[in-house]
Symmetry: C2
Subunit: 432 residues, 2 copies
Amino acid sequence: MAIWLDQASEGFEERFSAFLTTKREVSDDVNDVVRAIIDDVRARGDAALADYSKRFDGIDFAEVPMRVSDAEIDAAMAEVDEEVMAALELAAARIEKHHARQMPKDDLYEDAIGVGLGSRWTAIDAVGLYVPGGTASYPSSVLMNAVPARVAGVPRIVMVVPASGGAINPTVLAAARIAGVREIYRIGGAQAVAALAYGTQSIAPVAKIVGPGNAYVAAAKRQVFGTVGIDMIAGPSEVLVIADANNDPDWLAADLLAQAEHDPGAQSILITNDAAIGKAVEAAVERQLKSLSRSETAAASWRDFGAVILVPSLEAAIPLANRIAAEHLELAVDDPDALMADVRNAGAIFVGRHTPEVIGDYVGGSNHVLPTARSARFSSGLSVLDFVKRTSILRLGPDQLRLLAPAAIALARSEGLDAHARSVAIRLNLEG
Amino acid sequence: MAIWLDQASEGFEERFSAFLTTKREVSDDVNDVVRAIIDDVRARGDAALADYSKRFDGIDFAEVPMRVSDAEIDAAMAEVDEEVMAALELAAARIEKHHARQMPKDDLYEDAIGVGLGSRWTAIDAVGLYVPGGTASYPSSVLMNAVPARVAGVPRIVMVVPASGGAINPTVLAAARIAGVREIYRIGGAQAVAALAYGTQSIAPVAKIVGPGNAYVAAAKRQVFGTVGIDMIAGPSEVLVIADANNDPDWLAADLLAQAEHDPGAQSILITNDAAIGKAVEAAVERQLKSLSRSETAAASWRDFGAVILVPSLEAAIPLANRIAAEHLELAVDDPDALMADVRNAGAIFVGRHTPEVIGDYVGGSNHVLPTARSARFSSGLSVLDFVKRTSILRLGPDQLRLLAPAAIALARSEGLDAHARSVAIRLNLEG
């Protein structure tokens, strides 16, 4: 049973505020362990990777090579079900097409006094992609991370994936191949992050590391940040469904459960102006839970973090939605555009009853790596922009320097920076 | 005396690699102190702010109000030298004009099968700007942080600045006024960061915190990251000057010293294909050092981290520059465009002999908040993009859902996510 919050009831603001700040993640403090692993990989390189892989993944690099061979990937491709293969290809093509529109354009221009200004975008030289092992090893995530990097023009994309006993999910390898990733190592955990950040004898370092992982991977990414770039550290997934009375409760229940089945810490929220639909959805959730293979996970998420919020009108839902700043926001209402105009904080919006969030997870074309834990208030989902960087450009001739020099010198002096003033003045034989 | 590295000499690669990874910053571990301060501000709010401000800044909020009044800002404006005032206004106008070009455009479109896709950009609701006290209190930094936020459309910009004994640099207040910042508190340190992130009785929380600060501020920003967004944690400043023989050594020396005077950890590097100009610049540095008010700082920086790198040709400088990935790169050569084409990693490029980096610090129009410590390999300078976030949008009708459903269901099943498959299938009366 999810909690119910009624905006018309007394004490709503207090209860809603408390709900907003509920922690859904227990983060173990693994920093010391991770620090030791990183130091060891920096010191011993491949030998450290071999030791950790033997210990944690039960794999001996003397028998199975650390790098996944092309032949292995070929074999994996052949193993994957034809329908799944076609689905991966469709997904990759749609992701590529959508993300190509995100490529920023250089902007080089001259202003009114002839100063050359500009922004030039270049791809990051090398990017590492972490792919978790086991059940969290999602081929769709490989596409969502690797395709935008390729679209950005990243010349080297390196994938790491832990391989318990040497085995890697063949669909993950197929997705990597489809996304154009050719350099894959069967390593995982903090040791893989360290190898990507600092390099070893056989792995050249990268400049940025992206992709999801467990607490050790997250801690390692935080620790190597600065030496390399990292993407966001994602928390458990969330969906917020805003629904009017004209919905099939079973559709909404299915959407709430699709989120809940990810993780006991996932969160599914329904906001509606119709108490009856709220009740009906809740009943449908209980009914559908019975036939899910991951029903235990989904039930725990719905019980601990699920919520039904009653509002007096659909318009009243939007300020709440902006405060929740959900990773995924579904607008299952007659006139979604009217509501959408005022949504400010959301990772992604799924417009109308025929856009279940799951389409965005796989084949919509948009990215499924989105800001969680209310961070849509200040950050965005993964895009081509995460794989490029901007160099700003400034170009003056003697005339422009003469025009701007007095102001620069005045500001440098007011900040007490003599050498700054001199660096301008000396070029014009002015007094610095 | 800076170190000399000669690419033609044996062992260059080894020495250059070591040079690249030299640490220029001692980061004190202040995490525990900072954590206690943040917890205290969360628990006691304004009362905690009052206590810390009394202890650290010698200021009593019973006598001087925490919030800076409009009258105080008016008074500050009147105090600032007219020339400096005009320079601030020129700088703000140029920064605004340049940054307005960076505003990303929404992209909403329908693809070939009628799926609505898109990216919608919105400004962050509220941004906090940290401004250091004392000598590091730079009015130019106020402009560089606040103007892009205003251009992005951020409705609420809050500035915090520690005020030893209650006093704030009037030029900083003038810069804030010019940049349109109206909400200013005289608080600093970790306590100010905590107040911005979590709010107190009199300060509403923000969604992102930007701006430079000391080790305590940096640690506090790292700790509140996730609850709010933060900008990069900047390290000491750097300049890399690539120069041919046709230069006035005094100009180059002045540029190297302009960087060195910032901080003993700052770094100034000259790469040249002409040993004579290298020697002449070094002599000019020693000569100019004598007449700088911050000569001690500049001398320490040049002695400990300065470098002259000799290359056999100017073209050979570029791969080294890409590895150094300097915050500031000056191209003081006859044909800067020929070199610029191959520069991939640099925060900003200053093109030609008449573009000293200092112009970019103040009045060029581009931003002076740039990636340090080689992070230009994976990140960019501050821009309007740091003050907006992107919501992705997906819209399907029944026809589009029917077309994409089979692939989504196949992928969901292959990932073992039943509820995902059902969320799509149930809408089409298919089997999930």
